[in-house]
Amino acid sequence: MRSLTKAALILLALSTAACTRPDRFADNGNSVDLNAAGAGLAGSASDPSSPAYFSQTVGDRVFFLVDQSTLTAEAMQVLDGQANWLMTNIDYLALIEGHADEQGTREYNLALGARRSNAVREYLVSKGIPDARIRTISYGKERPTAVCAEESCYSVNRRAVTVISIGSIG
């Protein structure tokens, strides 16, 4: 239901969102929620140019060690895939969300999330993605994906997620 609505909005965005929009991330209407189950009409996971393929096959997220924003070898591998995908699918912009686990103060975690999202941005730029196609945001510890109070959850919450959306560079 939810993904269907989103998908409908994406189609709408495809047809109406034009290069004239000054704020390329003006609202969520044209973003793809990669956490939603499937990406619906926007394309199936078997279509290499689909957002579903990006999130499921390329991998939309990388993980960090406690308090760290350094990219691990594994993270760089995922980001290499993201960079390749973004090079091919030039209609997409990337919003990189930095997140932290809950073991830290709200303020510190916001700053830590900013570091993490920036580490991903810098890596993608170093691989040739124009800086103008990338925006970063930090959610600190506000949006965990796993809610238990153990390292098994914390380790997946310490993440940077690349959220792609159709759009143009203003």
């Binding site: 916001l110 970063t136 506000e142 949006r143 994906t145």
Partner: protein, 443 residues
């Protein structure tokens, strides 16, 4: 909509019996364990027809304020020998001594239309004297809770010699919904969280964080995601109207606090992944960078005289507390205990800094002197909770914070604790609540 209590005026000093200015009844608050002082508060007399219910409510809230400090113990009315029916009659001290009431609070309430008048007297039972003069407060019937807090403040101040704090409000974040998609709204309440006092100032559609009162309590700064990225808003408490603060350019701004005169904002600004502390003058829009380091600098808080700023930085490798001048420059580290320190807040008295501490997997609220000496922990969350985000009562006597229970069904609640570490209490607001900011004593 918040100007309900407008006409509240601290009014007449009642001509009273002999006023013992410095009676022997004096509760000195120290760090030691205190035996709560027993007091009696017969239900305030209803002087006009139909004011019995409000008189009962006011007596109850006065008693709850005093009990809530942990410094006083109420003697139940069932123990009373005399009920002290008339506000003006002579006090039968022997009757109150017999039940070991050391302090006696009497009062009377009259209602005239929307106007309410509350008078009270405080007696030192064992010396047989009135403590200070009787006072009368006038206001609207809607403002009865504030008048109760004002009466309790007078009693508290006269007996303890401390500054008043009951007639104050707290701004906080009301949370609802699942842990991985929490809805957050700015809410305001009386300091005691009374259900009737809670009002919501934002609608919960955008993620909001860490509201902070202005020094006069008329405005609130907070962080909002409504533009899609964290930005600072300023909100007018009376009208609930919010508008963005134009900060220095950067990707996101957060962790704001007002300067002591209310004309400036200090905050964290992130740019290129690096977070530093900035100040923006709200009058002329000028931005000043206060820190310039590749490390994280956040959670700034002014000293009461505005000359210094305490903040959190991980320049040493872990988050620790630092103090610098109000214009930036060299900062000195003040936290040297084990673990990580964050969210420092300078006491309104100027002598202490409250903080969040993380050590060996446990979260604490603590205080230290401004040079970092004499660190003491006031709270200790169990391994299944975390304590965070202290804020000071206007008199610097009590610290409020939030304790978040962990796990899928966990969530935050507000707590308060005396600065001595005694009297830890949960403040129930009927739902999850975090990020408290204690406002000034109301006028």
């Amino acid at each position: 909509m918040f100007k309900k209590f407008m006409a509240l005026a601290l009014a007449l000093v009642l001509a009273g019996p002999v006023a013992a200015q410095n009676g022997p009844l004096r509760l000195t608050i120290t760090n030691g364990v205190i035996e709560p002082l027993p007091f009696a508060i017969p239900q305030f007399q209803a002087e006009t027809g139909g004011s019995e219910a409000i008189a009962a409510d006011i007596s109850r809230v006065v008693a709850e304020d005093l009990i809530g400090t942990g410094l006083f113990r109420q003697i139940p009315s069932t123990a009373f020998i005399s009920q002290h029916a008339s506000f003006s009659q002579q006090v039968a001290y022997a009757d109150w001594r017999a039940i070991n009431a050391q302090a006696l609070v009497t009062g009377a309430v009259s209602v005239q239309g929307q106007q309410i008048f509350v008078k009270f007297r405080l007696y030192d039972v064992f010396s047989g004297n009135e403590m200070g003069d009787g006072l009368q407060f006038a206001g609207t019937t809607q403002g009865w809770r504030r008048m109760s807090h004002k009466v309790a403040d007078e009693v508290y101040a006269r007996i303890t010699g401390e500054e008043r704090y009951f007639d104050s409000r707290v701004i906080y974040v009301a949370e609802s919904g699942p842990k991985d998609n929490r809805s957050k709204a700015i809410a305001i309440m009386d300091y005691d969280g009374a259900p009737g006092s809670i009002q919501y100032l934002t609608n919960g559609n955008s993620l909001v964080l860490a509201p902070r009162f202005s020094p006069t309590g008329d405005r609130v700064l907070y962080t909002t995601y409504e533009s899609g990225t964290p930005r600072i808003n300023v909100l007018d408490v009376a009208s609930a109207a919010a508008q963005p603060v134009t900060t220095a350019p950067g990707e996101m701004s957060f962790s704001p606090r007002f300067s002591r005169d209310g004309t400036g904002v200090i905050y964290s600004l992130s740019s290129g992944g690096n977070t530093d502390i900035w100040r923006t003058d709200l009058l002329n829009g000028q931005h000043t960078r206060l820190t310039n380091a590749p490390s994280i600098e956040t959670a700034p808080s002014y000293s009461p005289d505005g000359s210094q700023i305490v903040f959190e930085s991980d320049r040493s490798g872990t988050p620790q507390l630092y103090v610098m001048g109000a214009n930036g420059g060299e900062a000195r580290r003040i936290s040297f205990g084990e673990g990580r320190y964050g969210t420092p807040v300078w006491s309104p008295r100027g002598d202490l800094i409250a903080f969040t501490k993380q050590n060996a997997g446990r979260f604490h609220i603590g205080v230290m002197r401004t040079d970092g000496s004499e660190e003491r922990l006031l709270s200790s969350a169990s391994g299944s909770a975390l304590d965070e985000g202290p804020t000071w009562s206007p008199n610097g006597r009590v610290v409020m914070f939030f304790r978040e229970t962990l796990g899928a069904n966990g969530g935050p609640s507000l707590y308060s604790v005396d600065v001595s570490g005694r009297n830890l209490r949960q403040i129930s607001v009927g739902g999850f609540a975090s990020d408290p900011s204690w406002g000034p004593l109301q006028r």
